[in-house]
Amino acid sequence: MKRLLSAIIVIIGVTAIIFIISRLSGDPVDLMLGLEATPESRAALRHALGLDQPIHIQYLIFLVNAFKGDFGVSIRHGVPAMQLVLERLPNTLVLTLATIGLAVAVAIPIGIVSALKHNTVIDYAGMVFTFVGQSIPSFWLGILLILLLGVRLRVLPISGIGTPAHIVMPAITLSSFMLASLARLTRSSMLETLNRDYIRTAKAKGLRYSTVIIRHALRTALIPVVTVLGLQFAGLMGGAVITEQIFAYPGVGWLAIAAIYARDFPVVQAVVFVVSVIVVLANLIVDVVYTYLDPRIRYG
């Protein structure tokens, strides 16, 4: 209950900060009317949008409406801001899940094998692979993939959405960074676990090697990995701005960045609200799952 209350306070705090910062740095009316407009037309539009009120009044109005589920109408698009966000949320969810799925499927085996073949050529190869993955900038990898798979080989669609094939390149691009950190985490966590007493006991009992690794060692080793996954999930749900732009993938990140540049406040606020709710929820879930994964952890 206490945690829930603090979660709500966090969300309100985040929206307040965003509200103030976004309004300090520019005005949507200037951007919409362009350089050519006159002061009269500016004032008229500003009044129509309610932007001529003092900022604390604007925030109060926003809070009251937000509690009623109304996040205002997008200044640029003329449709409800929340609708714009919700239209794109499924796209982002699909991309996020594909990315995490891909990262887990590749990273965890690499991590395990590297740990088992500790300090061998295989281990080094795995770690070099992850180094490279972590250091390649996503815009570069994305464009390379487009040129190779999209233009040269023509096996995958280049941009947009519509078929499962459209997800492949963005998911590879996005997972490259995450994959690296996950593999390294799995490796170190696995190494630590393999030196524990109970693993030696299990081996001494004469259990099969694979049973020891998968049923005994991996389970324990995965606890920190789950934490990182939870946080990464929340982060990805906030959108992957660069990747989404490269592949013209209509997700939340692209919407957010366009809204920020245009100072489309209602959309910025709706995105921030949705993302902060997801982050807070993801944290809550990770905490709860902890207590079950590791019965020793208890929250007062």
Binding site: L31, S41, L45, G78, G150, V151, I158, Q245, A248, A258
Partner: protein, 567 residues
């Protein structure tokens, strides 16, 4: 502690539940996501239609239908309705722009990519052709009764896509929406209202004639009507203006079929368009923000026209056998503004001329724009009426610049601030850096600032710019008077320069609608600003398009890509 533990389910079963829910979510969302894709919908349609056919046959032959069969019929009915909007494959044109259109309400936006789409759905009152001449559209003729009274005669027999008729009442309704404040009860001020501040009143003379009364002489208004896309009156009165944002109804050559925001927007041609049906049946607009991705999509043939090809990629694309690079000089002119209000040094014309002599514009055109820009003498693009083909330029002459600086008392140069907004104009940042370097070589030490465009625009609205500021001004009226008045007339919000002689010429041009006299005055004004050098004069942009060679289409200087003009 122990008590609460016994209430909880055991760890294993909890993990199973969590895992199961997550897996369900994943499968559900993925399935739901792909149900929206056209290909899958097509498959579902075929499947369900066959099912429905079976069911119906069964219903016909077997009197007692089961509950499941009835459900199939209703579901199919729904799916089929969605699908009837999808015609079979037809000639289609796919256009990729940097961004998605923002709204389908033409008066509530001012972005080129949105205008590009809207010019397919709506018609404007007049059109400006490639030579800058006015051409009839929904207005077939126009007369200035006096400099403040403009009569329009309207086209007859034009209908909106909902069947509503276009007439004087609709035309007046459209212009009354644009006045400040709007003369329609309950209407919000529009984004484009800034262009119609001189409109005082609109009278309906008869069913196809209206009279526009202005509060002061405004020869630009007729050219502004090129951007006034005409919306239906009855439709708006019945559904409200907000409906236009997503469900547009216009008199244009195309109708909106589908708009998946952020992914694509599809238009189909109107068979009974008053100007005759378009050659292209279906037009698809796709937003692709990354230029490299637009280029890739063009190379594999998924899109037919792309805008804003980066100059360094133009040569590569042109070398491809089935892709053409087509260019057109744009109405956008770049320059460096000088703030003569805050910086006293810039009030001396010798210093302003020195700055012009110090900048090697041709080298910037060659190296930053790969040749895709065109030098201008002042602020006037090459195809505007008062442009003089024999016009002269400030040639690159650092020695002369130094001499002028010395004459003005700054033998050792001085320090100055300069700014360029990021992310708005092609090549602006690189060009500004080059200019700063060139000024350094004649002894003017430049500190360059690069604010984000939104921040810079907010500053200009508070009438704040640094001593030097890079800007690129788009003038859709094809009349240089608009630029001169906004940028160089004293006491205008976007002017940091004052010269009574120039003000007098601008005011005179406003009061002189007769084209020949009007242009002669503007010619004089341009000569004056060339001598006075209130800006560092640079170049006009050249827009670069990548086009599938099979498409018959030529780019326009006003940045509009119109499928109606393509084959």
């Amino acid at each position: 502690m122990t008590g609460s533990e016994s209430v909880k389910p055991d760890r294993r079963s909890f993990l199973k539940i969590v895992g199961g829910t997550l897996a369900g979510l994943v499968i559900g969302s993925v399935a739901g996501y792909y149900l929206r894709s056209p290909e899958i919908r097509e498959i579902i349609r075929t499947v369900t239609q066959t099912e429905a056919a079976k069911t119906i046959t069964q219903t016909l032959t077997v009197p007692a239908t089961t509950v499941t069969q009835t459900t199939t019929v209703t579901q199919t009915a729904r799916v089929t309705v969605v699908q009837t909007a999808t015609p079979a494959a037809r000639p289609r044109l796919t256009i990729a722009q940097g961004v998605d259109p923002t709204t389908m309400d033409p008066d509530m936006q001012s972005e080129t990519p949105t205008f590009v789409v809207l010019f397919h759905i709506y018609d404007s009152f007049v059109e400006i052709d490639r030579e800058g001449k006015l051409v009839p559209r929904l207005a077939i003729s126009w007369t200035y009764q006096d400099p403040r009274t403009l009569d329009l005669e309207l086209r007859r027999g034009v209908k909106f896509s909902n069947g509503e008729e276009f007439n004087a009442e609709v035309a007046a309704f459209n212009l009354r929406r644009m006045t400040t404040p709007p003369q329609i009860p309950g209407a919000k001020p529009t984004v484009l209202a800034r262009d119609y501040l001189t409109v005082q009143d609109v009278e309906i003379l008869d069913n196809y004639r209206i009279r526009i009364k202005m509060n002061k002489s405004d020869p630009l208004l007729l050219r502004i009507l090129k951007s006034k896309l005409v919306i239906p009156k009855k439709y708006v009165e019945e559904n409200g203006f907000d409906m236009l944002a997503t469900k547009p109804v216009g008199t244009g050559p195309y109708i909106l079929k589908e708009w998946i925001k952020g992914d694509h927007l599809t238009l189909v041609k109107k068979v009974d368009y008053w100007g005759g049906p378009a050659a292209i049946d279906e037009v698809v607009f796709r937003p692709i923000p990354e230029a490299a991705t637009r280029v890739a999509e063009l190379r594999v043939g998924n899109v037919d026209i792309i805008a804003n090809v980066p100059p360094d990629q133009a040569a590569v694309l042109d070398a491809e056998p089935n892709i053409d690079i087509r260019t057109v000089p744009s109405v956008r002119v770049a320059f460096i503004m000088m703030n003569t209000e805050t910086n006293e040094k810039l009030r001396d014309p010798r210093i302003r001329q020195a700055l012009n002599y110090a900048v090697d514009v041709n080298s910037i055109i060659k190296h930053v724009f790969q040749g895709y820009a065109k030098r201008v003498s002042t602020l006037c693009p090459s195809f505007f009426a008062p442009y003089d083909p024999n016009t002269k330029f400030y040639e690159y002459n650092p020695a002369k610049a130094k001499q002028l600086l010395a004459d003005a008392g700054y033998k050792d140069g001085f320090e100055i601030d300069m700014e360029v907004a990021r992310g708005r104009w092609l090549g602006a940042e690189a060009a500004a850096e080059a200019i700063a370097g060139m000024l350094n070589t004649v002894g003017i030490k430049v500190t360059l600032y690069t604010p984000e465009f939104g921040v810079w625009a907010k500053g200009t609205q508070e009438h704040k710019i640094r001593s030097l500021a890079y800007a690129a001004w788009g003038n859709p009226t094809f009349n240089v008077l608009q630029s001169l008045n906004a940028l160089l007339h004293s006491n205008r919000p976007f002017s940091w320069y004052s010269n009574p002689a120039l003000d007098a010429l601008i005011d005179e041009a406003f009061d002189t609608p007769d084209p020949e006299k009007h242009n002669a005055i503007l010619r004089q004004a341009l000569d004056l600003i060339f001598e006075e050098a209130p800006y560092i004069f640079l170049y006009q942009h050249v827009d670069i398009y990548g086009v599938n060679s099979q498409v018959v289409w030529q780019p326009r200087p006003d940045e509009l890509m119109l499928a109606y003009e393509a084959k």
